[in-house]
Structures are given as C-alpha cells and as structure tokens.
Symmetry: C3
C-alpha cells in the first residue's frame, strides 16, 4: 500500500484543507472577474482589482503553506511533485485573473467587448468543474468516474473558451481601427484565455494523478 493519499495520512486532512482553501479562493476570484470585465468606469475596475489582488495574496499564502507542509512531511519526491504542481497551477489561475484585472486598471481601455464577459463566464464554469474534481480527490479510489466526468466537463468549457477567444480576435482585427485599443484589448483578454488554459492544465494533472495512483 504505497499509494499517494495513504502515505499522506495523518497529514492528509491538512493538505485537503489547504487545497480546499485554494479552491474557494479561485472560485471567488472567477466570480469577481466576470464583474470586473463588465465595468463601465475606471473607479469600478479599481474596486474589483483591489478585491482580486487581496485574493491573490491569500492564494500565495496558501501555496506557501502547502509547499512548507510538503517539505516537512515524509512522502516521496514524486508524490510531492504532484501535489505541488496541482496547487501551484491553481495559483497560476489566480495570478492570471489578477493580471487581467490589473491590466484593465492600468490600460484603461475605452470599452471592453462582450466576448470578455463570455470568456469570464466560461472560465468560471471551468473553474467550477475543476473545484468539484479537486474536492473528490480524497475519495477518488471509490469514485474515479465522477472525477473523470468533471474533467471532461472542464475540457468542454475550455474548448468553448477557445472558440470565444478566437472570435474575439477575428472581431478585433476586423473592426477595431485604433491600434492602441487593439494592443490593450488583446493583452487583457489574453490573460483570461491563459487562465482557462491553466484550468485545463489542472485537469490534466488530476487525470495524471488518477492514472498513477488508482
């Protein structure tokens, strides 16, 4: 019995509590970014950015705690790497949401297109499935199929997000004649798209963990 989550006992709960905290943070952040891309004034953008930045600091702190726990817990390097990958990729989602809202504040674009809201909603959807999958990890040997289903739905959301992002780019280059606005909007939405990619990457790590330990 040298499987991942058996080895983690009795530290197990600690890790799951920390992962759970990370989940809650990125859910909140993806709720906020939907509002942030809908703002019509700079002041509103700043307000959302401040809230998101705070969540980003919390995520950093959770990630550090996970990292320190891992180094103080006796588990093999390879397992350690999986857990660290998982939480650090979740932290990446947080960073990209933060970076998106920061760019809105710094660049102050004339208006943010509706595709941004669509993209943010799909990010929230994918993060929702991701969190469901992560929260099943402590019982994945009993119900691996549930996790696989969540990961499949996460992938669906990510594919839709890709389409939305592609349409945004086509629209942008076809219709926006102000090159500086092109730069701003391309940069802002790129962070959202990268956030959905990071969410897909978390799904891949989860699937890997299932293959390796089940």
């Amino acid at each position: 019995m040298n499987r991942l989550f058996d080895k983690l006992k009795p530290k197990e709960n600690k890790f799951f509590l920390l992962l759970h905290e990370m989940c809650e943070i990125i859910i909140k952040a993806s709720d906020l970014i939907i509002e942030c891309v809908k703002v019509t004034t700079h002041d509103d953008a700043v307000r959302y950015y401040i809230q998101i930045k705070e969540l980003e600091h919390k995520a950093d702190s959770v990630q550090s705690q996970i990292f320190e726990e891992l180094n103080n817990t006796f588990i093999t390097p390879f397992d350690r790497e999986d857990i660290n990958n998982l939480s650090s990729k979740m932290d990446d989602i947080m960073d990209l949401i933060n970076s998106c809202s920061k760019r809105i504040v710094l660049y102050n674009p004339k208006r943010i297109p509706e595709n941004a809201t669509e993209l943010a909603v799909l990010l929230r959807e994918s993060v929702g499935y991701l969190v469901l999958a992560v929260e099943e990890l402590d019982s994945f040997k009993k119900r691996p199929d549930k996790i696989k289903e969540y990961c499949a739905q996460l992938d669906q959301a990510e594919k839709k997000a890709d389409d939305v992002y592609e349409h945004f780019l086509i629209d942008l280059f076809a219709n926006e004649k102000d090159a500086i606005e092109v730069i701003k909007l391309k940069d802002i939405l790129h962070e959202l798209e990268r956030a959905t990619d990071a969410s897909e990457a978390v799904g891949k790590i989860i699937r890997t963990v299932i293959i390796k330990y089940s």
Copy 2:
C-alpha cells in the same frame, strides 16, 4: 548495466515507435507551414490550417500514449522524465506551428513578408536534423558522434533562424507604418521563431541524454 535504453527493453520498441510517429508528424507539419506562410488568399490559409490542426491532434494523442506507457512501465523517475521531456518538447514544436497557422487565419494580415518563408524553411531544416538525431537514439551507444553532428547542424539552422527573425523585426519597424499590421506580423512570426527555439531545446535534451547514459 542500468542504462536508460537497456531498462526500457522489452518496452523499448514501443517507445521508439511512438517517438518515430511524433517525428513524422512534426516533419509533415513543418512542410505544411512553409506553404501556409506563402499563401495569398485567406481560403488557402484556412486549408493549410485545417491540415496542421489535424496533425496537432495526432501529436497530442501520441504524446498521451507516451505518457501512459511511461507510467505503466517500470523505469526510474529520472529516465522517465527525460523521455517525457523529449516528446513533450517535440509536441511544443507542433503546437507552435499550429499556433502560427491559426494566427494567420484569425488575424488575416494584408501580406506575409518573405522572411516568414525563410524562417519556415530554416525551421524545416532544424526539424529535419532533430528527427535524424532522435531516430539514432536507439543505437546511440554505437554511434554517439552521428547524433552530436546532427545536433550541431540543428544548432546552425537555429542560429540562422535567429538572424532571419532579427532582420524581419528591423525591416518591420523600419518599413511597416500600419501599427495593426505590425502587431499581426510580429505575433505570427514570433510563433515560428519560438518553434525553432523549441527545436533547439529538443537538441539540448538529446545531448543531455547522451551525457547521462553513454
């Protein structure tokens, strides 16, 4: 005798067959991207993009098979990491070629400069040497010098590609006055340049493997 490719036996052939498949895919893709940067109509660009996208899906599937094989095969983590690095970096080349052709389709630039063809030809050259080196890997203990020579030629191609990319940038900023075209072309050729970097990175991994196991 605890060398990499001895340990892989009798699974060895499986890995080499999969790596060989990956090689064939990126060769085809680099042939197609040369044509894709030469197109004069959007419809032609779309046609090449569709073919490249298909290859990208195939490469993903090969990469997944390699990953699963690695997890089902008893080899040490470090060796596993090398093989995984090798194939996933090759997959990166594929992704960047795909991304380049996708950008051509989405951005629809007025015209693509000739440096793009030059760059694509050098990418094809470097990928050619890379594939020769990878295909020698199963006999590298007999002929390490051949692999080293292919890697050296790969590096030569990459250096030439760097020069072409630099000249492209100088030309672009000196002559293109339409800022939106600057954004488009810079983004499109950047993916080609990154593809040659990824090819160089594969060369580095191969050299590392030789140092470690020969």
Copy 3:
C-alpha cells in the same frame, strides 16, 4: 548527515566557483543595462548590446559547466535539481537583460522613457542582494538569517520594480499616441520587468533550499 552541501564535498568548491562566476556575470550585465537604456544614439545602443551579448555567451558556458558537473557528480537527483534550478534561473536573468538590449537595437525606439532607467537601477539592486545571498550559501548553516535578510531586501526591490513598471504602463497608454512606439517600449521594458521577476524567483529557490537543508 545527508545534507546538500555536505554531499557536494569535495566537489563543493567547484560548484561555488561556478556559481560565483555566474554572479559576477549578471552583476556586470545589470550594470551595463542601466547604461544601455540611457543611450541617445543607436550606435551607443549597439555598443552596449555587443558587450551584453558577450556576457550572455559566458553565462551559457558557465551554466553548461554546472550542468555537466552535476551529471558527473554523485548526488541525489533532488539536490541536483535545486542547484540546476538556481543557476538556470540566474542564466534567465542574463537572457532577459540580453533580450532587452537586443530589442533596443532592433526596434530603435524614438526615445526610451526615464522609467526604464529606474527599472534597470532596481534590477541592479535586486541582483546585488541576490548575489550576496548566493555567496552566503556555502555557509548558510552558520548564518541563515543573513541570507533571509538579503532575500527580503531582494523582494523589496522587486516590489518597487513592479510599481515602476505599472507607472510606466499607465504613462505609456495615457501619453504615447504613436501605436508603434507603444509596441516598442512595452516590449523593451517588459524584458526588464521579467528580469526582476526572474531575480525574485532565484530568491524563492534560495529560500526553498534553506527550508529543505537547514
């Protein structure tokens, strides 16, 4: 006694000598980049770029030597990974400084804003603390607090650099009406900002090493 730097003996000095060389190179490069962003003629920019490029080649060679030493030295993979991470992240700083000066030469912007000098000075500051921390590594068991203090100061410099970069972006989008200049300057300063990020990343690796081995 299976701690990192004990295991390295008697090879220890070799590694520290190579790390020390790497430190000297990035110190010189960060001195040069301060001058390079202040230039008023293209010829001067080229002059600094040539010197920086030379340092970049030296850093590559040191990084290769470290890598080869690591592969010829009996130490566990995990320790090896730490040392390799450390020096390759330091090499990243060098690459980004090189890339920044290369972009100045290739893009030939009309003028480089003063924030660039501020940013380069902060990069130099952060690299200075980084080097102090790295040079303490061979005696970190005696004086871990010193290293922690240097890392804290490195973080301070990085935070200031973030602020300067943010102000640069706000200024740029508020005042620069030439979109092509926006592209150029954003790209040039982005490399400097990434260099300070890489410096912060080295700080994190050092802290990790301290947690793991002290």
